[in-house]
Amino acid sequence: MRLKSDFTTITLALIPVAIVINIVVGNIVQVVLKLPIYLDSIGTVLVAVLAGPLAGAVTGALSNIIWGILFSNPTIMPFAITAFCIGLVAGWLAGRGILKNILATIVGGLLTGAVAAIVSAPIAAYIFGGITGSGTDWLVAFFQATGANILQAATLQGLISDPLDKTISFLVVWIILRGMSQRYLSHFPRANNVIRS
């Protein structure tokens, strides 16, 4: 981990904005466009790419905590662990150069989604009895009805919805960073993750 060199002033200025981007984009997608996805980790992936895995992880974890605080909903706070892992994995993958071409970006999204599903499942199963209080809960019911236990059902449910969501997030970040003038990107500690030299 490059703790000192990743957590520069510009990274610190970026993280709160990225946290808010997570929340606001999640809102646009669900309220304005009414799309059937969450897309609430765009900011996390963005930070992970521009400032490294740990910065991404911090962004993810704090996003869930702050979301819980601002919308008075503590039940999403335990999933800070998932968001933390999403940031770590995305940052690690970005360090391997996956944001430099579209196919690698998609693979990265799928991988990150799989990790998210595997991390979320025990949290969902242990604390929330396998459900999330959202529309995908019928999937849990379906898997349990076909003989899975709660943990298995929650994992399978996550494996269906998470990779899709994260892949779209990765693609959006890929398009945005490709579209951003390099003048503004070059100041971030891990600008090399996106700038083709």
Partner: protein, 271 residues
């Protein structure tokens, strides 16, 4: 295309009323500047012209369309809208693509889009920057990109919210010439501006708003002649109007040329 505003009231869901009893018409080809302090309701009013806001009471029609029964995207065929901050709309990697976004939403053919975009870019003086990244341009130029992206939609009505901010002398002159030129083509131009001198030079009708109401609505000369009412809205008349008044010129002047004409006249030998 005529704009009619009839007994317009607007209140936010929390009940705070920001527009009260507004009724007026703006005919085709008019140049109208709306002035007033921040919070007077200017932006709220113009957002009714393309349906971004819908009246709580009364109605607004653009030609034969009631804004109530059309989506904002539909209204975009009739009303072009330049927002204050260009960064709140730019998302393409090339100036050309950014300007083409509006026309392509309107469903124009690629040839038409090319023609509209080229014309708009040359109007704002950015023809040789069409391949550049908008964010590599200076903020003043980014604002011109946003203006071009509105012009390229070739709507009969244009709303410009604070177009002069950040423009230097040259940008200001270009903007003024553009406005004069567009009115020649019969377009209606409505602007919100704090720049009284600019309003005086290029707009023939002034609306003064205060606390959600219309304080004065009239020809530029008549409005700027009313120093006391303007002061009530915390506004100062244009430089030439103040100078003319201080020198005791018999008529109200608002522009440099008017001032010179009127001043020369006072010096003609009296008969």
């Amino acid at each position: 295309m005529k704009i009619s505003v009839n007994d317009l009231h607007f209140a936010y869901p929390n009940g705070v009323e920001v527009l009260r009893e507004l009724s007026f018409e703006i005919s085709s080809g008019e140049r109208v500047a709306i002035i007033g302090q921040n919070g007077a309701g200017k932006s709220t009013l113009v957002k009714h012209f393309n349906g971004l806001l819908k009246p709580s009471r009364g109605f607004v029609t653009i030609g034969d369309w009631d804004t109530q029964s059309h989506t904002v995207a539909q209204m975009a065929q009739r009303v072009g809208f330049l927002f204050q901050n260009p960064d709140e709309q730019i998302f393409k990697r090339r100036v050309f693509d950014e300007v083409a976004f509006g026309p392509s939403n309107l469903g124009l053919s690629p040839e038409e889009i090319e023609r509209h975009v080229s014309a708009a870019l040359s109007r704002v003086g950015l023809s040789d920057m069409r391949e550049m990244h908008p964010y590599d341009l200076l903020p003043a130029r980014r604002k011109l990109v946003a203006l071009a992206s509105v012009l390229a939609m070739e709507t009969p009505i244009l709303v410009l919210d604070e177009p002069t901010i950040g423009q230097d002398g040259r940008g200001l002159a270009r903007l003024g010439a553009l406005i004069d030129d567009l009115t020649q083509q019969g377009k209606t131009i409505i602007t919100i501006s704090h720049d009284m001198d600019f309003c005086a030079e290029h707009f023939e009708r002034i609306m003064v708003m205060k606390q959600g109401r219309m304080l004065i609505d009239g020809a530029t000369h008549d409005v700027f002649a009313r120093f006391e009412l303007l002061a009530e809205a915390f506004l100062e008349p244009p430089q030439m109007t103040r100078l003319g008044r201080a020198l005791g010129l018999p008529e109200t002047v608002t522009t440099v040329n008017e001032f010179l004409g009127a001043y020369a006249k006072t010096r003609e030998p009296r008969h």
